[in-house]
């Protein structure tokens, strides 16, 4: 198994072995429990469903309580699924913890980015500003032209325009683990990670 669920605790600086300072994100990773193993025969695809962080039983609805009971796992707050090509050795109810990660490992982290609300094209797509002066009239942060004329008489699909920004699923690949504290299930990951504090992150080891 090479994946785990985590919670972003915050960022700090970290002095590496050579004394260099790195920005790190501190993540509470696991312990998680395997709740369900999906197989090709039964579910038409292979995946492992894991749960993270205990939840009081009365806060979980009845169908989910039954789902956890079937797996023999205490009720959990977060359930996520990881696709996996070989789930044969994985048992329902087994624990997943940070001990499988080591300093220097490369990982991929998936999270939900912070929502930015309705944003214009300058922030959302990085378009250039128009002139602040030189005769620019009431159009400083606009998109400019959005198409041609009689042909095609419409706007191309996928044209970059203003709209909701953020709150997307973002994956960052090939980031390094700088430190592991197995007793407290803590990972120190180099650089920033998607999402706000207390956001849920899917952490997966990169294939070698």
């Amino acid at each position: 198994m090479n994946f785990i669920l985590g919670k972003k605790l915050g960022m700090a600086s970290f002095f590496g072995p050579a004394g260099r300072a790195f920005p790190v994100t501190i993540v509470q990773a696991g312990p998680c429990k395997v709740v369900q193993v999906k197989t090709i025969e039964k579910d038409k695809y292979e995946a492992v469903q894991i749960g993270f962080e205990d939840q009081k039983e009365h806060r979980v609805n009845k169908p989910l309580t039954g789902h956890f009971k079937k797996a023999g796992v205490e009720t959990k707050k977060h359930l996520r699924e990881f696709r996996c090509s070989d789930s044969s050795g994985i048992e329902v109810g087994s624990e997943i913890n940070v001990t499988m990660f080591h300093e220097g490992d490369n990982i991929a982290v998936t999270g939900t980015s912070k929502g930015k609300g309705f944003q214009g094209v300058v922030k959302r797509w990085g378009m250039h500003l128009q002139g602040a002066s030189h005769g620019t009239h009431e159009s400083h942060r606009g998109p400019g032209s959005i198409g041609m004329c009689a042909w095609p008489s419409r706007v191309w699909k996928g044209k970059r325009m203003p709209g909701r920004m953020g709150n997307d699923t973002v994956t960052i690949k090939n980031i390094e683990i700088l430190k592991v504290i197995p007793e407290q299930n803590i990972l120190f990951i180099k650089g920033s990670l998607p999402g706000a504090k207390n956001g849920i992150l899917k952490i997966r080891k990169m294939e070698a």
């Binding site: 700090a12 004394g19 300072a21 501190i26 504290i181 803590i186």
Partner: protein, 116 residues
Amino acid sequence: MNKLNDLHSDQMKTDRPDFHAGDTLDVHQRIVEGNKERIQIFTGVVIQVKGTGVGKTFTIRKISNGIGVERIFPLNSPFIDKIVRVKEGKVRQARIYYFRQRRGKSARIQEVRKRK
């Protein structure tokens, strides 16, 4: 934030003296050149102390050959061998940016007299 600091406690240096803006410090920094390591001392006035926990930094200003030089040091950097507080200055602000505009006689800071 407290939890983050606890997780980091092994990175915090406990031998750093207590100081604030206006103080004059000797910063003994370790400089690695190839295989050799030597100590260089940077002496100047603390302009500001910024941040908390492991990421705490301080800015030191000195006049070198008539040119003002400022350096920002991470307080907990392993490259800092030791910090010696030479003078304790008496200032009213926590960040004495006005000190940058001072030259000559006005660029002096009153020292705190300790009662015996």
